[in-house]
Symmetry: C2
Subunit: 152 residues, 2 copies
Amino acid sequence: MKNQERSLRHESRLNQMLSRVRDRHFRLTPQRMAILQILANSEEHPTVEDIYQQVKTRFPTTSLATVYKTIALLKELDEVLELGFPDGSNRYDGNRPYPHPHAICTKCKKIMDPEISSVDELSEEMRQKTGYTISFHRLDFFGLCPECQDKP
Amino acid sequence: MKNQERSLRHESRLNQMLSRVRDRHFRLTPQRMAILQILANSEEHPTVEDIYQQVKTRFPTTSLATVYKTIALLKELDEVLELGFPDGSNRYDGNRPYPHPHAICTKCKKIMDPEISSVDELSEEMRQKTGYTISFHRLDFFGLCPECQDKP
DNA sequence: TCCTTTGCAGATAACGGTTATCAAGAAATA
DNA sequence: TATTTCTTGATAACCGTTATCTGCAAAGGA
């Protein structure tokens, strides 16, 4: 079952996050736990505002600052991937916290994470032609998702 | 001679920009002309502030707003490529105003534009695996440029 | 040539997501 | 229990960009 697989992966991601937080002796407050769960469980690359709204359903007094600070913590631990956009509409990926290509719908903003084979070759080609030592990348492909192609 | 080739390319780019501006019946003010020249002549992917400082050497009363408005005009004409970054350090490419891969030095911020062969294949692979209709992309590779590798 | 219209330049206020600051509270440590 | 350290929540500050407005200058028509 696909949903079972996903559930297992999410649980595994949460455990990974939790052990990293504990290993570095950061405190595991209820607010942090809630934010970690949201990030581990979401496939939708949520915004800070999305996360903030979700946390508030469980902890209504949570501040936006807490969300920002928890995300900063996870970035430091390399447990979340930040997809920053110039217009400020940043998104977060707690499931695959390493650089990978994205397909981004220019209309509904849905983001997909396909497995792509030839990224390493491309990275190597960049290294050869520029002399740069490539350590990470950001690969975004923009267009219309299948749903938005149908309804114009 | 490499410099001659580059000079010719820059001149050709400037002419291209000028005719686009004229075709659409936008006025060619001295400030606009200066900004177009800067963009056509620069290989360094300047920031708005860079452009602003350069224009002011010729027209000291130029306003930042004029730089922003001229860039907005060129974006509308697809005659400049905006490389927006989430931290606000945006850069502009007046020489190659179409999507292409960049190598970006994380230390000195130097940007290179190598010719890469396999971008179309990658785009096609994205299309196949996501169902998105890819219309443009943004491909950034980050690392240390040759100069910054030498001096630690 | 004069006049009207339109567009542009310059100055500055407003905007908005993020970061910094700080007081109050809670958890760890002694 | 006392003390230290960390975290939360609220809000001010930040800063590149955008919006607004006034005055000016070029284009086009009588």
